[in-house]
Symmetry: D2
Subunit: 354 residues, 4 copies
């Protein structure tokens, strides 16, 4: 299943070491003004080559092939390419003969029988570059409506933002080299990443999400609940191992009397909320408060150390470290989480109406 | 969106206080033998009226209308009804004039403008009775393949199964009045529920999931990852606030060198795993190890206490406790989690093939 | 695939001789007033027992189980049942041991291995009763918008409405016992049906369709063209063998200079059309002119004569006439065509919008 | 809706005068050997520049970006591009200010408000080049199973193949310059096209379809009937105005006693058919006989003559002939019909199975 979304559908294709990554975004409304700065900025934030990312250098230029006329969307599907330029498949030749631990090599082999092993092939996180581009395009329609989807580094290893730190801006996020808006935590995460990298190890982390500006009444009931769709979106990102929203897993141990969000009249016939344990969603539909969620990422499984494993022929093998890899899914996962949130929110806004 | 699934599609309808809950399960393969005991047993486990459930008494008889001939599935869609018998709408008359805190009353109103407020209407957890029935029907196809989907109470409030307790049977689960297979924890959860109930309060909890017998190679890549579909399934259950699998959120703080699952040759050209931090899934596709996950549930928002809130006319109101409600989403959520797992797994097995 | 539609989804279940036909209509907007007269009238028009229909007597009462509150739709899915009361399965006992010529018995057996043979089982045209009900419910939303979907008997055997006869009302259709608005043709079709029936034979026919009141700009491009969706809808009706629209197959032999629809200014910045060879659709999207189409139905394959065939065990068999059957798919197919048009049009109006 | 298919999904993008046409074909099974000759041959047959096609010269080279490794499919989505090289947008400048009669200019404007008018933009038949490529890729999986999808020119204007001429090969089709396997009709169609072209006019025609080698039991019941899916596929092709199968519209005037297909034992416990009025499909599911159908195409609306019309500003305008266009949708529609048949058949074979 290489398509995401219902009313706004992103279909992606491409392997890590093929000629290009390719996507078609279908369902964008007509009449939306393109903002190429937003697009390029988003791509830069996810691009490899950062301080803690793999040294692979990809300009990650997005080549839009359709769906725009004179800089405005036409309602036609938007196809775009990202060329794979800095491909060194030879790095992966030794790797391709073994099943890398906690990677998808073995399961893809079990599923398909014949796979492209170069650089992880279809399972590579390079696919997420297309998501980031699509999310930035979705943002063209969200921005004029005052809807903001923020993602940020909440935790890496044992370094975490204090829970009471909730008031920050997009600038606070992106000005941190690790996309962590809380300066002291940002510093300690940097130190942590350096330390883990120096040991040839990798580490996991948690990305926070916050969506503001969404009016009440957006989302679907029952199987299309807004948080269920966010969960599916986030869990589809490489290395994601957990999702919760609002009070999340912490709230699962609490009492109703403490965690209910009391309604107050807003003075205009509507409601306001004293607290936001519900994370902006009740019964799967937005209530107008900020939507808050977390996405947990496991440590990246490619280590800078030798690992025991099994070769494709079934024999014992040693996987020696090669290629170019990240120390942590964060901070590069942050713009991916943001992009998936943008896609889910625009899709939800685009519900069928008379 | 009242349909769940791709190859196996469950569509549900019905409100808490309407004449009946109704579902159509489409995509069941032909030639599967019906097992009505499995179906009735599943319904009984979710049925209201237990020690910790609401006192509403529903026999929850599933009336199958189609798709079976001489006790064997025909490949035609299976429609079924569950009648709502013990409906006391008058209990909800006062409630229907106010927005209950942390319920879906307000968001449904914002979304639809006109809703059925009786007993939560469409947003009521009564809808999950249909999921349990559908999951039991799916089980008819899973059982002969040796696939077992277990769900169990892992935690309520601060009472939790010790993490090292992993070896238990379905019988261990269902013989506990709170569906907790660890006897000492089961006892303390019972005590906790009594205590919370006596204070007119409610409490949250965590349901564990474990799927065994699934061969390697099941699941879809990218946007249809097995864990993403499980996440969407579980997060669509009323009151669910979090999902993780394998190492989950805990692993998000660990190191790759500790959490990678080392492959060993299984002696038959395949692999075995030394650990299962991946929770049986790599790259979205099963690796043959047990699939393990957790679903967190918030405290049920309906309290046995007065609560301040807002009336539908925008004025301040007091919500007095009325009607019949549960103290905790667990244990009744346990068979619902099991049912959703069964639906996801059978759907995944039913992938398009030449 | 037992679901029809994208934004408005009808899922049906039920076999001819099971306890009930069952459907769920999902996607109906909230706030639409129910009109039970429209519903009952539509059901009566399709009901068996007419002059030329099978003598099976079914009141075909539609029992709505959900989705309405105080006579107004809530946006929740609308489930409904039609009980099968006058079931005489013994009529079909002999039939069920042979493959009836030009029926679906053989192909269902090849597809499913185990099928319900009673009265055609799932393949019976009784399924269309659910479509008629769903179409009538869709009409609740179309009527206030001034959109009218008409279907009518255009031809039976060699008796056809003159091509220049295009100006008629819904009353003209339904006041004819064969749903043919042209009185002389209606009379000759009646005579034709009597004659064919008296010979134990059956005959084919053509249903015309006309949709008025639809504004320009409705429909999807490329694979979701309005006429492609109408084609799929109509070809899914039992016994349908052909669909065309506008100039149809006749125009396929003509010249562009004769068949182009010339635009004129409508005096308000828009257009009017001198002709309607395009049948109200250009590029898959409505142009504001009436949508016109035809649906061809083969002769019903169940004859009042002995037929040579093959038994399920592979031996030669003689199929003796039994049971209760129609002489012609028309006129009963007329309200079914109307219903499918209503579903397609409301689905198209319900397109995703910001 | 720019995606076609359920189990095999083709998503297309691209406008006539944009940089490239782009598609993603998702759902191709793994392990299928690529056959680039089949692909290039199919593209050549649809390519512009033929005797009766537009003089636009496009090599129509298909650039596959993903989904293949060492010439074998991997189960990953297959993205491909066709560059638009010979773009002369200036030809369309005058055109873009008026609504061309019987084109989609007006309806796209009504639907989207902002469209790409160059060369028909998204509505151009250039989109069908992607369908032909996708169909050829589908054929890689069909050929080894002995399944053959043929399309051929059956009629242009009043020149038609005799109905008794049914025995011909793919070679007979493609060796005709107008893809008509009956040599005398091929000759008269050539003459007809020359004559029509010389008058600056265009003409319609009918493409026949024939699918052989498909086993019995393929297809879905009710709303996914094989002929309903073929109808939707064919009616989504530019200029298509009609679809019928088997006996088609002709049979709609006949008697059941003449048109029923009598079953005979095939001597192996199965059946054979004396006739094939059902066109290989009963109840929406294949019966093992050849599937036969027809697709009617209207005359191409772009004439080599002046036409009266309306400008985008609402004033009266004259459309002068410019640009490069075909005389008839045939023969170039023939490989498109073939491609859509291939996609539907492979999709149907790829049904979900345990």
């Amino acid at each position: 299943m290489n398509t995401f979304g219902i009313n706004l559908r992103l279909t992606t294709a491409g392997e890590s070491h093929g000629p290009a990554m390719c996507a078609i975004l279908d369902g964008m409304p007509a009449g939306i003004h393109a903002d190429f700065d937003t697009l390029e900025e988003a791509m830069r934030r996810r691009a490899p080559g950062g301080k803690f990312g793999s040294p692979r250098r990809e300009p990650d230029k997005v080549d839009i092939l359709s769906g725009l006329y004179r800089g405005i969307t036409t309602g036609a599907p938007i196809a775009f390419l990202i060329r794979n330029r800095d491909v060194r498949s030879e790095d992966y030749e030794s790797i391709s003969t073994v099943y890398r631990p906690s990677h998808a090599d073995y399961t893809y082999q079990a599923r398909y029988g014949h796979t492209d092993p170069r650089g992880g092939g279809r399972a590579s996180a390079r696919e997420t570059s297309l998501r980031v581009a699509a999310g930035a395009i979705a943002q063209w329609a969200l921005a004029p409506r005052g809807i903001d989807c923020a993602a940020f580094t909440m935790r890496v290893g044992s370094e975490a933002i204090p829970s009471e730190f909730v008031d920050f801006s997009q600038d606070d996020i992106w000005s941190s080299p690790v996309y962590c808006p809380h300066k002291p935590t940002s510093d300690s995460i940097e130190a942590c990443l350096h330390s883990v990298a120096s040991q040839g190890d990798t580490v996991g982390g948690i990305v926070g999400g916050r969506i503001t500006g969404l009016p009440a009444g957006i989302g679907e009931p029952i199987y299309g609940k807004l948080h269920a769709r966010l969960a599916a979106a986030m869990m589809s990102i490489n290395a994601a191992h957990g999702f919760d929203y609002g009070m999340g897993f912490d709230g699962c141990c609490g009492l109703g009397s403490e965690l209910n969000d009391v309604f107050d009249p807003d003075g205009h016939g509507g409601i306001s909320l004293r607290t936001n344990h519900s994370g902006g969603i009740q019964g799967g539909i937005s209530n107008g408060a900020p939507i808050t969620f977390r996405v947990g990422f496991k440590p990246i499984p490619t280590l800078g150390r030798s690992q025991s494993t099994v070769a494709r022929d079934g024999s014992i093998a040693i996987l020696e470290p090669r290629g170019r890899h990240d120390v942590c899914a964060l901070p590069r996962a942050v713009p991916v989480v943001q992009a998936m949130a943008r896609l889910v929110i625009l899709d939800s806004l685009l519900s069928p109406k008379l």
